[in-house]
């Protein structure tokens, strides 16, 4: 089948306005749903990482989205691997590259929140413990989306999923969102960051930074899922931004034990963020208030940690 030539950038005068790299390593024709935040995340990560990159992808939306065999929308080599093996798989790739004398290739694990916070946590802990020179990316859409929206450890309190179906007994998600970033900070790896597909410049800067550091790096990318969150696919970026301003998700990075908050936008009401998504529509006011005060105190905690970090850095 004859394909049209790759439509890349035409030379235009105002190219200078581009705030992210122009080179595309993700092609159209992928299987992502309308407005998928995880596809944005992949596109931005590859823009930062460039062609000299090997990806390892476990079972997750991205195991299917590149295309049904023999298609692929990715222009870098990708290794599909069982659900719980991303951490081990990137170690294996890196070990092989080392013995083969190829030290200029980025090795990136690209796993969903279930594959990271739940079934893949052991292998992730293993790679972080060894501090192998790899980047692990968790794209966080807050549930097992590829299998049909089941709750994961990363699903926030109050959310409807197909396994927290609300029903008539308030059977919504009861446990708070597991903070994998905190678990990774506890591993004392050289770089841990959170990012959002709604803020590509920040995301790309973080991927670039991570790839410049030797050792295990971890980035959690907030990636809205219109299908699983029961929301308008056109609102992916808006909701991604509101997640930050409502404190439902925070952007920070941790280097050498010091935390830096990257974005401190004016607080917006949590309810506005929640009610744009069908998965939270059932939430009673008391629960929203509880959640909001919980997120607020978490935010205060984060600010305090940042203050302490600054003091610590001054001492150094």
């Amino acid at each position: 089948m004859e394909l049209p030539p790759r439509r890349n950038f035409e030379e235009v005068n105002d190219m200078a306005k581009l705030t992210i790299p122009e080179d595309e390593l993700m092609r159209p024709g992928h299987m992502g749903c309308l407005g998928c935040g995880a596809t944005q995340a992949m596109r931005f990560v590859l823009k930062a990482a460039g062609r000299k990159t090997i990806l390892s992808i476990p079972a997750c939306c991205w195991a299917v989205m590149p295309g049904v065999w023999p298609n692929t929308c990715l222009e870098v080599p990708e290794l599909y691997t069982p659900f719980e093996t991303t951490g081990a798989s990137i170690s294996g790739i890196k070990a092989a590259l080392e013995v083969l004398g190829k030290d200029d290739v980025n090795v990136i694990g690209f796993a969903g929140d279930g594959g990271t916070a739940d079934i893949g946590l052991q292998a992730l802990s293993g790679v972080a413990d060894r501090n192998d020179d790899v980047l692990y990316i968790m794209y966080d859409n807050e549930a097992y989306m590829n299998t049909g929206i089941q709750r994961s450890g990363s699903t926030p309190i109050g959310a409807w999923t197909t396994t927290t179906p609300v029903g008539t007994t308030q059977a919504w998600e009861k446990s708070p969102k597991k903070s994998v970033a905190d678990i990774m900070i506890a591993h004392r790896i050289p770089y841990v960051a959170t990012a959002s597909a709604a803020y590509p410049e920040d995301l790309i800067r973080k991927v670039n930074k991570a790839l410049s550091i030797k050792g295990t790096k971890f980035i959690q990318i907030f990636a809205p899922c219109p299908t699983g969150w029961k929301m308008d696919p056109g609102l992916t970026v808006k909701i991604g931004k509101e997640a930050i301003s409502s404190r439902a998700f925070s952007l920070y990075e941790v280097e050498g034990g010091a935390i830096k908050i990257n974005m401190k936008p004016k607080k917006t009401p949590l309810k506005e963020y929640l009610f744009k998504q069908g998965r939270f529509k059932h939430m009673p006011d008391y629960l929203i208030n509880e959640l909001e005060s919980d997120l607020d105190s978490k935010w205060e905690e984060l600010l305090f940690k940042e203050e302490c970090s600054q003091k610590m850095l001054k001492k150094k």
Binding site: R51, K52, T53, I54, S56, A63, V64, P66, G67, V68, W69, T72, L74, E75, V76, P77, E78, L79, Y80, T81, P82, E84, T85, G87, A88, S89, I90, S91, G92, I93, A95, A96, L97, E98, V99, L100, V105, Q122, A123, S125, G126, D129, R130, D132
Partner: protein, 400 residues
């Protein structure tokens, strides 16, 4: 060539070193531990030029090995029983991904109750994983088989993972004289691992994504074809090794005095050495007996079983495990291969040595006696599946 006193585990580690394994990812489990210790020593001393990845589980050991193999490096791992069971998912992945990873499994019983002793349930349970299985009888065979396993697994017509099995403690922790071949001999036999089918930033491809029903079957068909082709590749690899070192393991099956044998025992592992000794004694008494030792379990030695079927009056199949369906795995497969063959002698299944119980000379003698009786008079009260030596209050003296 130097003769050294090696345990099975040390022979394993040296086999991996001589085969120039480049990435070793392994997790400790009794009785495999001294393999990973010896490899760690060899790497630390600079004798083995490999990257040793200290993974946090057997599951990760195999996952890292697959990834390393897919990146173009020769990968090695080793495990035992529960570790192999934990690897199950990833073993299937290694086979489907067509990565020629080689692993050594120290055959050990599955819990509960916890047991660390010799038993074949771990490896036999992997019979449908698409992994080639070699079975060793002594420490020399372990070392040679590791090298041979790469030769077979990396063959372009095969490209499947391979597992070498050795009995817990009987081999893993027992020292025997082992001829350690010179590195040049091994290099001559086993060229460096080269593949164009790998993760390559200059030729990007995806490996193993989603596929729809109209085409999945062809990939399984490929695996089946490769397994079939592996039979000839194994025979050739065995012959080439014999030319270089003078050692052969019979290709697909190790047959001992089977040409004219009327009564043959077929089984796997160290206990078959004892059985061979018994055959020597019985031969002196004028009895036409022989031993067929399992050398390759996957692919199954179909022609060899039929060769035995053409000769024997009866075949006793020894299983150091049980399927919990009916009979032991070797018994079922042996019967299956003879059913459509036209000639099928009487067979009887002896479940022996489960969980490391000793199988002694007197047992083999009694089993041969029992087999002759079966051929003449039919099955006794135990039927065709006989749990040899099971303590039920009526166990006859010869089984104890």
């Amino acid at each position: 060539m130097v003769k050294k006193l090696f345990t099975g585990n040390k022979a394993t580690a040296y086999g991996a070193m001589l085969a120039r394994a480049q990435v070793v990812a392994a997790y400790p489990i009794t009785p495999q531990t001294t393999i990973v210790e010896r490899i760690a020593d060899l790497v630390a001393e600079g004798k083995m030029k490999a990257k040793y990845v200290m993974v946090e589980s057997e599951h990760s050991a195999m996952a890292a090995s697959i990834a390393a193999s897919n990146t173009g490096a020769r990968a090695f791992t080793a495990t035992s029983s529960h570790g192999l069971a934990l690897m199950h998912e990833v073993l299937m992945w290694a086979a489907g991904a067509r990565t020629p990873v080689v692993l050594v499994n120290v055959n050990r019983a599955m819990g509960p109750p916890w047991s660390v002793y010799a038993d074949h349930q771990d490896a036999m349970s992997e019979r449908d994983s698409g992994v080639i299985q070699f079975w060793a009888e002594n420490n020399q065979e372990i070392m040679d088989s590791v090298i041979m396993a790469y030769k077979v697994a990396e063959n372009k017509d095969v490209l499947l993972p391979a597992m070498v099995n050795q009995d817990a403690f009987f081999l893993s922790h027992t020292s025997e004289p082992v001829d350690v071949p010179d590195q040049e001999i091994v290099d001559q036999y086993l060229p460096p691992f080269e593949t164009t089918v790998k993760l390559d930033v200059d030729d990007p491809k995806g490996f193993g994504s989603f596929i729809m029903p109209p085409q999945y079957m062809e990939f399984r068909g490929h695996m089946a074809r490769s397994m079939d082709k592996a039979r000839e590749v194994i025979k050739k690899a065995d012959k080439e090794w014999e030319e270089l070192t003078g050692r052969s393991y019979g290709g697909m099956m190790d047959m001992y005095k089977c040409e004219d044998a009327e009564f043959i025992l077929f089984g796997a592992g160290t206990m078959m050495s004892t059985a061979k000794d018994v055959v020597d004694t019985l031969r002196k008494e004028g009895r036409k007996v022989g031993i067929a030792r399992l050398r390759v379990f996957r692919p199954f030695p179909v022609d060899e079983i039929r060769y035995l079927a053409d000769r024997a009056h009866a075949i006793g199949v020894l299983d150091r495990t049980f399927t919990f369906g009916y009979g032991g795995p070797l018994f079922n497969e042996t019967n299956s291969q003879m059913y459509n063959h036209g000639k099928s002698p009487k067979t009887k299944n002896y479940i022996v040595g489960v969980g490391g119980r000793d199988v002694r000379q007197k047992h083999f003698r009694a089993i041969f006696d029992d087999l002759e009786k079966v051929a003449k008079e039919g099955y006794g009260k135990e039927g065709e599946v006989h749990w040899w030596g099971l303590l039920d209050g009526t166990t006859p003296e010869e089984e104890l």
